[in-house]
């Protein structure tokens, strides 16, 4: 995958432009920040006693840890125009999702010109932002992980029947493939930027960074093993998107992943249905510790 593909822009008439950032609540900001640099290899991008920002690509930042004892996670997408942001707010209002306009100090904290925040039907916090800051300085990784940038986010859903239409109808996302009732959603040429996974709770399941290739995935797998990090899935390969992945846990439990080789879809792609089973989440046969990816299920059949 080229770096250009990470910057792939949606069509001019698309609602969502790009995945923008992820905000994660952590009880111990120092431990989370150490993880972000020493394990993820991200570059510190400012912060204070309550927040730590990290850069992974052309974005000014793509990950923000927020110090809190509450469970908190939030993902953000960018829209191209203020009119689009107003349209989105009106559509969300009509659905009864009660969108909130970002106050100036909240916009400043997020490094965006304007944003609208809402919770989806499961309670996942989402922010739609306009004019997020981009850095003119290239990303310089803290560790040689081969990171190319923020690629996609996997989200838990307790109300998948309502959440999928929210993304497809209000935000113009298209379903690339389905695993059980879960779905991979695309907003540009990449197989997906967002995936929804049926679960008994809400929250971000995994934050995925693209890396250069299989060498970087496997090197990180041995590195994480040696550093006694908790690998929760992989190394493995996703049947639907073709990604080679490695999912691992940060202190506090948030899962991150490195990924390479996500397919780009062409116009003639037709949505495929996979069964909800461990084998539909890894074709190498790796067992996940996450129930959403088929934990504790016997693989068999190989």
């Amino acid at each position: 995958m080229t770096i250009a593909s990470l910057q792939t822009s949606a069509a001019p008439n698309a609602v969502l432009e790009k995945l923008c950032y992820v905000r994660i609540g952590v009880p111990d900001l120092a431990a989370a920040a150490a993880f972000a640099t020493r394990i993820l290899g991200l570059e510190p991008a400012g912060g204070d006693d309550a927040r730590a920002f990290f850069k992974s690509d052309f974005r000014d930042y793509s990950l923000c840890f927020v110090a809190t004892d509450q469970a908190y996670s939030c993902l953000a997408f960018e829209v191209r125009t203020m009119e689009r942001l107003d349209d989105v707010a009106a559509s969300l209002q009509a659905l009864g999702l009660r969108p909130r306009r970002g106050e100036p100090q909240d916009c400043a904290e997020r490094r965006v010109k304007a944003f609208v925040a809402f919770s989806d039907f499961s309670g996942n916090e989402v922010e739609i932002v306009w004019r997020p800051l981009v850095s003119g300085w290239r990303f310089f990784p803290s560790r040689d992980t081969g990171i190319q940038g923020l690629l996609s986010v996997d989200v838990r859903s307790t109300h998948i029947a309502e959440d999928e239409p929210l993304w497809t109808q209000i935000f113009g996302a298209e379903v690339s493939d389905r695993v059980g009732d879960g779905c991979y959603l695309r907003i540009d040429d990449m197989h997906h930027r967002l995936s929804l996974h049926p679960s008994d709770k809400a929250g971000i399941l995994s934050i995925n960074f693209a890396v250069e290739g299989i060498d970087q995935i496997m090197q990180s797998s041995y590195f994480l093993h040696d550093s006694q990090s908790r690998i929760v899935h992989g190394p493995g390969r996703t049947p639907a998107s073709g990604e080679i992945f490695l999912r691992f846990e940060a202190p506090g439990g948030q899962v991150f992943s490195f990924s390479t080789g996500m397919e780009m879809l062409r116009d003639e792609h037709r949505t495929r249905q996979y069964r909800q089973a461990a084998g539909s989440h890894c074709l190498w046969g790796s067992q996940s510790l996450l129930p959403e990816f088929g934990a504790l299920e016997q693989m068999g059949g190989r």
């Binding site: 299989i214 060498d215 496997m218 090197q219 797998s221 041995y222 590195f223 040696d226 190394p235 493995g236 390969r237 080679i244 074709l283 190498w284 046969g285 790796s286 693989m299 190989r302």
Partner: protein
């Protein structure tokens, strides 16, 4: 000079033919080509067989290379005799048991039994493994050596092998474009260090890794990637503690006149650039 055309088969003695068959078919993924009273023949590609287990001592192992024809076989026997290396022509029964027209047996300077064969049998039926291991075919062996520098000289001056790279003093030797068909590795006594089968893809290496772990087959080394040949690999333990390897993506050397061998360290980093640690039998 003895022109080795091809690596043809390995023959391995074992005290437990049944266990060897179970491993070779259900774990390694080969296909039974023929089952005889004291031997089992296993197929990995278009050839009649590329591995044979026979009832005998596990220390009785041999590796066979194909020569062009009967004329070159006779010439090879002369060359070896002149080098003071005794040869023995196989009897009719032995030729039949190896599915070859004729062969000579000799021992390399470390004492590894080598057979040079001509007209080995091909198979008209394609290989269909017992499990979907994705095997493309038998590809190379590693042989233990009591003196790798001496053995390198034998394989490169008496035979047509060229050094592709060295890991410590151990040469990786090619006889065609493939990075290596023979690896000469330091060891206390003669024998086969490992037997390699090429597989079709990264997915095959990684799926087999999970399969072998589930089957409680000891993983000896990997999954990893060799800095020398660029191949992704997985080594695991077979009957009589002999190591088998799957690999994919081995480098081809197409610019023979300008290719220059490289020196790698005999350390984990010289053997794997993903970070896997080797655990070969002592």
């Amino acid at each position: 000079m003895i022109e080795l055309e091809n690596i043809q088969y390995c023959r391995l003695g074992t005290q437990d033919l049944e266990a060897a068959e179970i491993f070779a078919t259900r774990v390694l993924g080969l296909e039974v080509s023929a089952r005889e009273r004291n031997a089992i023949y296993l197929k990995s590609d278009h050839r009649d067989h590329t591995l044979c287990y026979f009832e005998g001592s596990p220390e009785d192992q041999c590796t066979a290379f194909e020569l062009q024809d009967e004329h070159t076989l006779d010439a090879a026997a002369d060359i070896l005799e002149k080098q003071g290396r005794p040869v023995r022509f196989g009897t009719a029964d032995e030729c039949e048991s190896r599915r070859v027209k004729r062969f000579v047996e000799f021992f390399d300077p470390s004492g590894n039994k080598i057979e040079l064969v001509c007209r080995p049998l091909m198979s008209g039926i394609r290989y269909h493994g017992m499990r979907d291991a994705g095997i493309d075919g038998f590809s190379h062996v590693g042989l233990y050596s009591s003196n790798p520098a001496r053995d390198e000289a034998f394989w490169t001056t008496i035979c047509n092998a060229r050094v592709s790279d060295r890991i410590g003093d151990a040469p990786l030797l090619r006889i065609d474009e493939l990075h290596h068909t023979l690896a000469v590795l330091p060891g206390k006594k003669p024998g086969i260090h490992h037997i390699n089968h090429q597989v079709g893809s990264t997915d095959d290496v990684q799926r087999s890794n999970r399969f072998l772990v589930e089957q409680q087959v000891p993983i000896v080394f990997g999954p990893g990637r060799h800095p020398a040949s660029s191949a992704q690999f997985l080594y695991f333990s077979g009957p009589d503690r002999l190591t088998f390897e799957y690999s994919v993506g081995v480098m081809h050397i197409n610019d023979e006149p300008i290719y220059r061998e490289r020196q790698l360290a005999p350390t984990p980093k010289g053997l794997c650039h993903w970070g896997a640690l080797p655990n070969f039998p002592a």
